[in-house]
């Protein structure tokens, strides 16, 4: 197995991000469905995680022994996940063109069902990823595997009660090989999280449950993300699970999609696509 720790340079990461944004826009536009808002907001994070932080092999194995694992809990942001996986070498970039189409491995929400490399659990029905990640982290401990488990969750997703079962468990059982990132964009389908169901003081809640919490105010800044993930990694192994509150802007990088929930689950039309693409340079070649 070829295990790699891709330590891409800042320049490389900065080239990847606009290309991933282009992929996201083109994928959802092509099938007139999907979730661009949250995907765009997490482009910097996922690109950085996969190209600068995690140890893994693109020769994918479900068990992922002695590799870092990533679980996407908010499965609706599949466009950014698929683009990042393809651009990181898990499957051909050309396959992005099959997103949400019949007989595709790139289902609307990620799944293991069609055997897409890089996906270890189905997600889409919200609130389940934290528990799954804890299980994988427990198995790593049993296997004396020192690699880490990373997750990404929506902030609105924390309204699902299963998360709090998992959050309580992880702290109580000292799951200290888990770094859970919350996409803290404060938006969900029906509006702002404050309008729908306020999350309250999320940091205080997580700390009260016994977690180590790292805030990243500039959640769309690659250098800030690298710094936070390095801080998080250095905090592992200390009997506490770690949460990163990643303050992002939904729709980041496409001006008319930013700072609104309107593009949570809506695809751009031809004209809107052209505007969005014009704001993001084709750095590595479109699929």
């Amino acid at each position: 197995m070829q295990k790699t720790t891709p330590m891409a340079s800042l320049e490389t990461l900065q080239k990847l991000v606009p290309q991933v944004r282009r992929d996201i826009l083109r994928m959802v536009h092509q099938v007139n469905s999907g979730h661009p808002g949250g995907s765009l907001g997490c482009a910097e994070f996922l690109v950085t995680l996969y190209n600068h932080v995690m140890d893994y092999s693109t020769d994918f194995s479900m068990d992922g022994k002695n590799e870092d694992l990533f679980f996407l809990s908010n499965g609706h942001i599949s466009p950014v996940f698929y683009s990042t996986l393809a651009r990181s070498g898990f499957f051909p970039v050309a396959e992005l063109a099959t997103f949400r189409k019949l007989n595709s491995r790139l289902q609307g929400h990620p799944t293991t069902h069609e055997g897409l490399p890089g996906v270890r659990i189905a997600s889409g029905s919200l609130g389940q990823g934290m528990s799954v990640a804890i299980g994988a982290a427990e198995t790593k401990k049993l296997n004396n595997d020192s690699n880490l488990v990373y997750t990404l969750h929506g902030d609105g997703e924390l309204q699902e009660g299963q998360n709090w079962e998992a959050i309580m468990y992880a702290a109580a059982k000292g799951i200290d090989n888990l770094i859970a990132t919350i996409d803290y964009n404060k938006q969900q389908i029906d509006g702002s999280t404050d309008d729908v169901l306020p999350l309250g003081d999320l940091r205080a809640k997580l700390e009260a449950f016994g977690w180590e919490v790292i805030d990243v105010e500039q959640g769309n800044n690659i250098e800030a993300i690298i710094k936070a993930l390095e801080t998080a990694k250095s905090a592992t192994g200390k009997q506490k699970p770690i949460a990163i509150l990643l303050h992002t802007v939904m729709g980041n990088g496409v001006d008319f999609m930013m700072h609104t929930h309107a593009w949570h689950g809506k695809a751009p039309n031809d004209e809107q696509l052209a505007i969005g693409l014009a704001q993001n340079e084709e750095t590595l070649g479109d699929y």
Partner: protein, 319 residues
């Protein structure tokens, strides 16, 4: 045709068969891990816990989290066995099982005690009669309902060797332990009595009742074939069809709602291949209530006497 004699030295609960099987597995297979949601004693998981504390995970009263953790633990090669009551193993966590276990093809063994009405005095909140239906509808899920201690012990071993998600259903009442000499193979029904007039297809706690019913029928000059279907999915279609063709009448016997249970699976096989009169010994789209197991079996028509009545009715319907 004479009846085979089934004897037993003791009555013992099926859940204890699970507990013994799990402890044996723990010794034999280092990849087996066990998770429990605050019902370790009720599930008889103490022996595993005491022998392998590092592989026992007390999740607390958080079944959704337990199912997710179990799914995640398979990543890296563990074989998780979850333990709680049948109600909390299925209805409470259906979506977690559906997405994180079944759709994700995770090798999780969902082990459920206190299934059905024989849970008794706790009443309808805990007496799930819909779980077989929910679990058998999930693509890729194997569904097993065992009839006594030994069958449950053997099933516990068999599901560890099977790659894929499994729902194993057992219960609380003490039942005759009579299958010691019988084999257990997932998906293979067992002919307990050979007969020619009617086929009694039984699962779980109703298997012993079906054997008792066959004796009563025999005394009345009716030859009943008794088949134990422990694996409801995948169903042993061939065995059921062969018997239905021979006897021309079927009674399905289960501690479950007649909607969604073993009886409906049998009706599907018969309708597709060999339409045959069938009667259903099962609850009739109702919730349960508090009472002793024997009182409840009597009131809800889940005992040998009820099987005898249904057998006579279905024989009368033969063309």
């Amino acid at each position: 045709m004479g009846l085979k004699e089934y004897t037993f030295t003791e009555k013992i609960d099926t859940r204890s068969g699970f507990g013994v099987g799990l402890a044996e597995l723990g010794d034999a297979n280092p990849n087996v891990v066990a998770l429990c949601a605050d019902l370790t004693g009720s599930l008889k998981m103490n022996a595993f816990k005491d022998a392998h504390p590092e592989r026992f995970f007390q999740i607390g009263i958080a079944e959704a989290n337990m199912m997710g953790i179990a799914a995640g633990m398979t990543i890296g090669g563990k074989i998780p066995f979850t333990g709680t009551f049948a109600n909390f193993s299925t209805g409470r966590v259906y979506d977690q099982i559906r997405q994180s276990i079944a759709y994700s093809h995770k090798n999780v063994k969902i082990c459920a005690s206190h299934a059905g009405i024989t849970l008794g005095e706790d009443g309808a909140t805990h007496q799930i009669l819909e779980d077989i239906g929910m679990m058998k509808m999930l693509p890729g899920m194997t569904v097993i309902n065992t009839c006594d201690f030994e069958q449950t012990r053997k099933a516990t071993h068999a599901i560890a060797a099977h790659n894929g998600p499994v729902y194993l259903r057992f219960g609380r009442p003490k039942m005759p332990n009579f299958t010691t000499a019988l084999p257990f193979e997932i998906g293979k029904g067992i002919v307990l009595q050979e007969g020619t007039d009617v086929t009694l297809v039984a699962t779980g706690h109703l298997v012993w009742e079906a054997l008792e019913a066959a004796k009563t029928l025999h005394a009345a000059g009716i030859s009943a074939e008794v088949i134990n279907i422990h694996t409801i999915k995948p169903l042993d279609d061939a065995l059921i069809l062969a018997s239905a063709k021979k006897t021309g009448a079927v009674v399905s016997c289960e501690e479950h709602n007649f909607l969604g249970g073993l009886g409906e699976s049998i009706a599907r096989v018969l309708a597709q291949h060999h339409p045959t009169p069938q009667a259903f010994v099962a609850t009739q789209d109702t919730f349960g209530e508090s009472g002793t197991p024997a009182e409840l079996m009597e009131k809800y028509g889940l005992n040998a006497a009820s099987i005898v009545r249904k057998a006579q009715e279905v024989i009368a319907r033969k063309a």
